[in-house]
Subunit: 217 residues, 6 copies
Amino acid sequence: MTHGPILVINPNSSRRVTDGLAQALRPYALPGGPVFECLDIPESPATIASEDDVARCGLRLAELAQGRTDASAVVIACFSDPGLDLARDLLSIAVIGIQQAGILTAMARADRFGIIALSPASVARHMRRMRGMGVLDRLAGEEALPGVSAEDAGHSDAVYAQTLTAGQRLVAQGAGAIVLGCAGFAPRRAALEAALGVPVIDPVQAAAVIALGAVLA
Amino acid sequence: MTHGPILVINPNSSRRVTDGLAQALRPYALPGGPVFECLDIPESPATIASEDDVARCGLRLAELAQGRTDASAVVIACFSDPGLDLARDLLSIAVIGIQQAGILTAMARADRFGIIALSPASVARHMRRMRGMGVLDRLAGEEALPGVSAEDAGHSDAVYAQTLTAGQRLVAQGAGAIVLGCAGFAPRRAALEAALGVPVIDPVQAAAVIALGAVLA
Amino acid sequence: MTHGPILVINPNSSRRVTDGLAQALRPYALPGGPVFECLDIPESPATIASEDDVARCGLRLAELAQGRTDASAVVIACFSDPGLDLARDLLSIAVIGIQQAGILTAMARADRFGIIALSPASVARHMRRMRGMGVLDRLAGEEALPGVSAEDAGHSDAVYAQTLTAGQRLVAQGAGAIVLGCAGFAPRRAALEAALGVPVIDPVQAAAVIALGAVLA
Amino acid sequence: MTHGPILVINPNSSRRVTDGLAQALRPYALPGGPVFECLDIPESPATIASEDDVARCGLRLAELAQGRTDASAVVIACFSDPGLDLARDLLSIAVIGIQQAGILTAMARADRFGIIALSPASVARHMRRMRGMGVLDRLAGEEALPGVSAEDAGHSDAVYAQTLTAGQRLVAQGAGAIVLGCAGFAPRRAALEAALGVPVIDPVQAAAVIALGAVLA
Amino acid sequence: MTHGPILVINPNSSRRVTDGLAQALRPYALPGGPVFECLDIPESPATIASEDDVARCGLRLAELAQGRTDASAVVIACFSDPGLDLARDLLSIAVIGIQQAGILTAMARADRFGIIALSPASVARHMRRMRGMGVLDRLAGEEALPGVSAEDAGHSDAVYAQTLTAGQRLVAQGAGAIVLGCAGFAPRRAALEAALGVPVIDPVQAAAVIALGAVLA
Amino acid sequence: MTHGPILVINPNSSRRVTDGLAQALRPYALPGGPVFECLDIPESPATIASEDDVARCGLRLAELAQGRTDASAVVIACFSDPGLDLARDLLSIAVIGIQQAGILTAMARADRFGIIALSPASVARHMRRMRGMGVLDRLAGEEALPGVSAEDAGHSDAVYAQTLTAGQRLVAQGAGAIVLGCAGFAPRRAALEAALGVPVIDPVQAAAVIALGAVLA
């Protein structure tokens, strides 16, 4: 049996981000398995910064997904999981948000997890969502890297040094696994995991794998 | 790069159970991906019923895993996750328990989950472990099928009717996804999912996929 | 000092619902206090039934509120609080959701609360939101009235009898206050409170009063 | 219909504190609305410092309220909510405690709240009561101002500077609203709110407004 | 070294209840150990039924204890723990409440506990206190015996049959230990434990033993 | 009636530790009461450091206890409570773990507790177990003394100074009682309690007393 593609939808309009997603998912593209089709939304802004962006991009993402009746699953590739409840209500296929998947996968690997976020403002949003997920008792801590862009997160050596320090602080606070709170960190995941000695979870990979599991089950 | 096998260890001695695991994981055996090697432990009893069984089988499982330095990951294929903390302490590769993985995957698919267990006694054990996981606020309910054996769970039509009724009760209680609380249910997963209209999670598949994600990351 | 109006926005297009809001808020329209201006959104559907409705009506509500720079506060008059985070992000005035306000006011009146909802489907949504609010430990229970419309909730004697029975069940489960889970119940609030002997909270009134407190502070 | 007065009972004997309450509630005294009658208890000590004070003042407050059969609601105007359960058991009218009302109103305005308290000792008491309220997951933090008196809280510029610093620390910890943990802060509420950029809740106002809502419903 | 008596204070005026306490503590009166001195309060009512009783009896209990400077510890022998925070604030010796001690001892014996209460009204009070204790996740259930008096709880065979049925329901709900929610049940503790096959905790004994531990430490 | 001994089993092989247990329990050995028989396990390592040690020593402890049919109760005298669930499953007498007993006894003495641990690594383990116990909301904090041995914990004056400082930090964080997270601290318990002014709980004493209560009930 063949399966339709797993849509990995970047809800912003940055093609560079989308290329990063495709890069991160390359290891999971096995012969015979479903294709990960990475998409962005040209009408969206280049980054999702406000609640207004979250709301509008969520709607667009759901519309896009609804039009792709060939898809076997959908991954929402933005750490604020825009449109998650909406897309689940509209579609009968599996819809996976990368924030939820990243955190839950970390919880399958270790007792407590930490998160490395970009902006301090996002930490408050994450707290709200983790309370909604009912998983706050597993959180060891969250560290933000103020002023760092998604692109620098994966490509600047200076930022990598900051990221490593943040990870070490989280491990010292009891984190047995680290969730990368932005898709941009993906190119540094393996190095960070090696340096910290604990699992470091790329949430896009985590969501893609859970989607894969649903499609092939 | 090639990867060592993912060991899927049934900590009891029942070859029939092990064969069921292999069957459930067949869809995930993709060309180029790691092999799922399903094992059992001949010195163990045929079923794990008591805390003593849990403790002794956990030790044997960890010893077995420790000896397999070629492995890339370990799945503990028993819903009481015997030896999980122990194996994690001894090994540097990913160690995934099916109870945790099944529940966490259900949480990635829906807001609240239900569990279908075999014995009423196991329900109290699951409550203890879910409190330890900090996920009780996501539990919609748990239903037991007293007197049903692991084998009948997957092969008896009368038991399937009971299972379906239990699943319907859980959905009525608000479960948006169902976790099968015994590997024996696997042959009925797809039918149950179709009949209930919500995701039904085979915890062995859930754990295998998270292990796969870790190995290929 | 005079204050701009408190906008009480019904995010659907039903004028009849809007009239009901105005009716429920009449007791709070005191000379010298701010006006409660009750509005609906003509482009919205007559009822908000799906997550898609919630998302789209939330956006429209936020846009409407953003355009009313004369307003002193905003009340979101729909029990799913559509657009709450969005409107808060866009506006600097107080934005109050009736679900949150109704529940929090019940918590100011008694130790545990119950909710009377219309559809069984909404119960699952409320559970998710109450978990997000971190108040699940105060919930005594929630009862749904399947098949009852918002209009009948306030105007049918047969439905009132059902509502009373639901309230009595919640009191028996330990509810010291009842939250009406739909604005439509408002005409029956006082009768229900008298019959049950515990506070019965109309969430629109609860939100309006908290908005009033913010404006006059 | 006219309504009896809303009794706002300062359970200590300080007339100056009572005058401050009346001052804080002036904005809510609208023509046609119920009167806020602010009272103190001459037999009580000037401040409530010990558990013994809490117990004895609670009893006196409940007795006073019980004797006022003309009252339409009671506000307990002390941040330890003395006599709350007792007065609720004795009276059929609404009884609102300012600690509960202040915290719940903050929760209606923002996701997480902070508290500014006077003595460090009161922080431990507040933790106990917030655990009892089941709202600890919404707490961003609490800051104490050691050595500051209730009177200085509202009248000293040096103390205001300290208060502002405490508020800024709480906002940095994620507080989206601040609860003033002592009635004495009331004269500085508006200035603090303007300086911090988040809602600052005077708990006496919060309780008075909820009482008003109950009386006029 | 000799130790002052451990005061076991029945905060009501019923001598018969006090005699029951003395009877329940007989097994702990070992040569060389401290004496358990069981007292009641003649000015109190014969039973503690209302929040007013709780408040007034708590004050009297604390006064009584404060006057007994020879005491080495205090046990508050009423399941609503009247005066607990107050007495702890006033005294430097250990003050143990039987509700807290009974529940905590059950938690030292089994994973989840059940409570058998007398009046349904007390169940709501217990929920509030257990939330305050932060132990709700350990509660399997609570059963009330409406219309049963404290005296009948220990002396009527018909009531014993009801008590046994309640205990069986709690065990079926997952209770691994039962807390007797009234001192009056003490004479039936051993029979109930034998019949149910799980530990049955007399809270007066539980508190006395913890007091003993504190005194002899 | 005479009672069999209460077995206090040190699951490691250090006789010196066992002697310390016996010393700590001397005050509870009253004429007419059960004997506390302190044992160690010669086949065990001298200290329990890894999850492997925990698993193996737990099995040995349960075997030892199972062979002693004369025993009236069992105390597991290691702060990781090895073999607790196992021994409870195998034996019908009371089985008490010192970690659980120490924490629960602290909760019977004060609202929030702190823990003084030896190694920082144990703090993560304790967090996991306290989450499983459902008591995290009562934890004020935990302090580790890196590099301190169990023996020095009770015998070195330099370590005592560190312990006191840790205790003071915990009290400042709101701890109203301190649990000693290692049996080795026992000789300093009384001095620490006097210096800190809050109850300091030796978990071996706490468990022994609860066992005593169960045996004599």
